[in-house]
Amino acid sequence: MGDYTDWTDSIELLGSEIQLPIDLQGAYIQLPVDIQGQYINLSCDIVAQSIGNIAIDIASQSIGNINVNISSQSATLNVNISSQSANVTISISAQNVGVYLQPEWSARQGTDINIVGSAQTTLYNGANVIDWTVPEGHECYINQFGGIWYLLTPTVSLGGRVALSIWGGELIAPISGVNGVAFALTKPIKVTAGQRIIVTVLGYSSDQGTLIGFFSGYLT
């Protein structure tokens, strides 16, 4: 980096038993660890036949912030616990804590997708009111869909149907109802990039009217 000379220093300890305690006591202690580099690989590998305890104890009358910030286009944070018996305790004591499921979190993060389509219907007819293809580089998770058929003379409505289909002919859910229906899915439907989603609304009626369909979910 810069015009400084390269510097390499290593601490290598080889022995049958090594102890390297760091004991700092003082009225005021600073132990900054400043790592700057164009490329950094910081790994902490702990390999032992037996691990007694790995503890990070932070005790203070006042703690400003403990931040774990992960900023990346894509990130995976895995916590893998492989043990015959494990206890995971997360104890949070705060006036306000927000824990969000993905659909709600996506809305807060602005990655939700909400699509509404409409068309006019003729006698005893229906229409594809949404024709949408998942953009390249994304996956779509649909967690609700539905539709209504608004007829000029509602009294002659004989029911209808909303169908959500993924391009390829697979009809996911034909639904019967009177003048409209909406479903919230407990398990979202995953649709990959390039796949086409069609929402069809049918209103069985001898009158003309408006068909409206929708689905919503989030993109990853």
Binding site: G110, V116, S118, Q120, R196
Partner: protein, 82 residues
């Protein structure tokens, strides 16, 4: 080459989309995002087909009317002085 005004449609750069299917088979697509008062309206012929064609596009600004904003400010100002 695709009309660049259609790029947003294929990028997925929106949170809301409406598709208004017309009797002639064309579709009026509106795209907008959270916290954005600009609605991109695209009138498209043969949506997603090989011969897809953009007939017209426009940016519509969707703002809260000034008289409503003024009322909101008045409520906040008065509440803070009471």
């Amino acid at each position: 080459m695709m009309d660049k005004r259609l790029y947003r449609l294929y990028q997925g750069d929106y949170n809301f989309m409406t598709q208004e299917w017309q009797s002639d088979g064309t579709v009026i697509v509106s795209l907008y995002k959270h916290n954005d008062d600009k609605i991109h309206r695209l009138h498209i012929k043969n949506l997603y087909q090989e011969n897809e064609e953009l007939i017209k596009d426009e940016i519509v600004t969707a703002k809260v009317p000034n008289h409503i904003l003024n009322r909101m400010r008045e409520v906040i100002d008065n509440a803070s002085t009471e």
